[in-house]
Symmetry: C2
Subunit: 346 residues, 2 copies
Amino acid sequence: MNDVNPVLVEALRGSAVESMHRGAVAVVDADSRPVLTLGDVSRAVFPRSAVKLLQALPLVASGAADALKLSDEELAIACASHNGEPAHVATARGMLAKAGLDADALECGAHWPGLDLATRELAAQGQAPGTLHNNCSGKHAGFACLACALHGRDGLRGFLRGYVEPGHEVMREVTSALQAATGADLAQAPVGIDGCSIPTYAIPLERLALAFARVATGQGLSTGHARAAQRLRQAIARAPFMVAGTGRFDTRVMEVLGERVCCKVGAEGVYCAALPERGLGVAIKMDDGNTARAAEVVMAAVIEALLRLDADEAALLRGLSDVTMRNWRGTVVGTLRASTALRGAF
Amino acid sequence: MNDVNPVLVEALRGSAVESMHRGAVAVVDADSRPVLTLGDVSRAVFPRSAVKLLQALPLVASGAADALKLSDEELAIACASHNGEPAHVATARGMLAKAGLDADALECGAHWPGLDLATRELAAQGQAPGTLHNNCSGKHAGFACLACALHGRDGLRGFLRGYVEPGHEVMREVTSALQAATGADLAQAPVGIDGCSIPTYAIPLERLALAFARVATGQGLSTGHARAAQRLRQAIARAPFMVAGTGRFDTRVMEVLGERVCCKVGAEGVYCAALPERGLGVAIKMDDGNTARAAEVVMAAVIEALLRLDADEAALLRGLSDVTMRNWRGTVVGTLRASTALRGAF
């Protein structure tokens, strides 16, 4: 039982603990020196969407972003798991248009918007979702723009076909950037297929944290990737709505903290962040795969502990790490909170 | 770390375990003899909606169900966490009408239907959800019918007001039935407020299992409650759509197994079941509160292990305990499965 990760988040109903979430947290600097280690940080985890910024490095480093004059909004959505709100759909569509493509080029599949209100509005208009509503459509539009730099516009649609496969030239570029940033040997890593059909590689949590320390500092990245990381961080800070959307953790935190935090949620309880002013990278994995109510609480508590916050900033983060829960009538029924094991670790 | 519950469910991506769910399972007979114990079954858990059948015992035992000529569908929905589909809304509305009441009498609050399709259809009609769409509306309509027996129709609306409070005569009847079935001293139990605003009491898992062994056999219940339990089990078996709805575990399992299983899901990873032919009760609590992908898998594996199933029945249950997961494009990406610790426990 020594390998059991600690409880990081507790859900209380009334004053009793109803449920709990275990997990691991790694915070390291760009020299791999651990600042905080909770649980087993050497275990390899599928980072899922938490590494979209790393997967977007070639989009900038290849020159595609400049050649196609991608805006902050477009670069931010290339790193996004967005809500499928109208502005997200329009932005992803616009990126594809710059590459001379449309939604049919995307291989991410379709799903109803992540924001319930956006789903209901779409349904009320008698519409069904397309690939642009997929939370990964911006990332895939970024892949299409990268393909434009690799191949040129001539015959681009044919070149792009099958881009989600590991052996495709586009995906090899993306995987190579992920390998360089994490220092993990991805050829030897367990591989799975992500929700949007691209490969996802299992990477030790401490190496994911290292990659984001590198994103925070540029240290340990090639010059081109270091510049790309800075450009993407700036774009996300300027357009935080594009990386997630209405009501979402990443958007709310970066709207307030700007470039001080570059955080990104992933499926199955993964969260990564770069903290440039501290030169640190953060990686979180909840054992049970719960993102929305577990990994987010942990990330909020980590940011609270590591950054100097003013009163408004502290209030926002405390509201995300010590969450009042209400029922359908609006009655307070409980609290979702960072555990004492987590709070006490700093 | 000796108090850490075992892993009962694993989520695999490709061939690697991506996430895992810990929890406890108690299976006992009506004499409290344990047939299976996994994890800490003495810990008190909030049973949430898993005990709706117990909370509906007074509806039948009071004579209200007979006096108001409640149908199988109406008795089933009194024990339901339903999808808010049109048939559910109509059935709950009809029960209230039999008591001379309407949706305004319900104190459960409103939420969009649990079934996404029902939400989209409601939105497409330009409508918003009301209290009847609340997954607990049938239970609350049952409380209203119970109130009719306790008070009579005259001034019923006034009598009913505040029925969700622990001290209200209706709720005292409901709590008394829960206490009698579980044998727990609820006056001393931790109490919280449930999603639908009624109290929920923390009860040791093994006592929840005992209550459902009593429901399965009648043994240990008063004559009135034993008859009521049998009537409710029969009603649910005849109208399994009403207890959950399209695509839902409880509905699918009971459509096939009928009276052989009477199972009921609860929020926060709770599941209870009565297995009449074995004279057993089952209670499950996942530590992380995950119902849909964890407690359901455990319940499927428990039913598989405890009942003799024909090929079709076995195939249904195996599909629920060893679930193929696909992404937005329909590609197989992984498996959700009962752990070897769980499978090997029988």
